[in-house]
Symmetry: C2
Subunit: 207 residues, 2 copies
């Protein structure tokens, strides 16, 4: 039987379910978002139905509606969660290692079926689809966290002040081509070479 998030946990508290991370509701929300991403990848945004999301997530349809009355927000949140899971950028204090880890997870997700489906959707009919806009919105929100990691590295003097957008594309672009062209395997060694060359280049060309 599907769980109903609101009834079970949050109705009496009156709080937004997201405010209780780590609990059962957080798990349910996460399941809803994962189901949404999978369905969007399968059928696109236009074909998305709350009933199907609830069924795939194993929750009550009302849980979906109450947590996300706004459909565009649901899609954007789902893609954001997917993007963050896809490429977590940690701050271990070791910039090189964090970036290599970031590229490795990014490459794994790019190779997955959901990753490929989203990729395909994003390059299809640019500017014409809801999905295209959702992917771009999720990317913008996601990018804000990547920027923080770079800012922290700049503060510590590990790299000179840098355009985070440019740096992100410089690092992710080659990964993208390695994975989609499938001419050479994308290995940790390749990821390390990319990070080393790009960081050295950023330092060498600093004004």
């Amino acid at each position: 039987m599907p769980e109903d998030v609101e009834t079970a946990e949050t109705a009496e508290a009156g709080a937004r379910p997201a405010a209780r991370p780590g609990g059962r509701n957080a798990r349910v929300r996460s399941q809803i978002l994962a189901a949404t991403t999978e369905l969007v990848a399968r059928n696109g945004v236009a074909g998305l139905r709350y009933e199907e999301i609830a069924e795939l997530a194993g929750v009550n349809k009302n849980s979906v509606y109450r947590n996300w009355p706004d459909r565009a927000r649901l899609v954007s949140d789902a893609l954001l969660q997917y993007a963050e899971d896809s490429a977590p950028l940690h701050d271990s204090g070791d910039l090189r290692r964090d970036l290599v880890d970031f590229l490795m997870v990014f490459s794994e997700r790019l190779s997955s079926s959901v990753g490929r489906a989203l990729l395909q959707a994003a390059v299809t009919a640019p500017g014409n689809t809801d999905l295209d806009e959702a992917v771009r919105t999720a990317y913008d929100r996601r990018f804000a966290t990547v920027r923080k990691r770079f800012d922290s590295a700049v503060d510590k003097g590990e790299i000179p002040p840098v355009d985070s957008y440019f740096l992100t594309e410089l690092l992710s672009g080659p990964v993208y081509l390695y994975v989609t062209r499938r001419r050479r395997p994308f290995t940790r060694e390749v990821a390390e070479k990319i990070v080393d060359v790009v960081l050295a280049g950023i330092r060498a060309t600093a004004p």
Copy 2:
């Protein structure tokens, strides 16, 4: 009325039409290849019909058959011509300028409707389609010419010995993401920054 390449120019010579560059036959061949690329982008390889190619190119169907009895070869030649037109890599003696020019033309083609269609086809159903294989074959042939340009730069001492494949992906990857994500315009200034950072990084990390 469609032109018939074989009858008009080459039947009596018995030579492969391609052997006469710059002539009418070269133009006809080029039209056939362009028509093929456009149809492949539109309908995929499976839907490709010689009649349609001839019609779109404005030539006799026999011209297509005689020049390319092998269909796979036709598709591969068409994509190769497209790729070479898409990203000519000249050798002006100025490596930086040549690479910036290369990235600029690459970005323009990526933004075109045929470019997007091929891109979409290439990321769809990887490994399962004829097109996927044709794109990869064309890419391999294309890559051989890029490698030459780098070898020439290495010979002149402009850059240290380098893995050409790695270097190509390092340069093209960011262009690819700028164009497909459409978050920031891809300008000549961005192309110059990419080339400068990558070349500086390659030099700084040389063993």
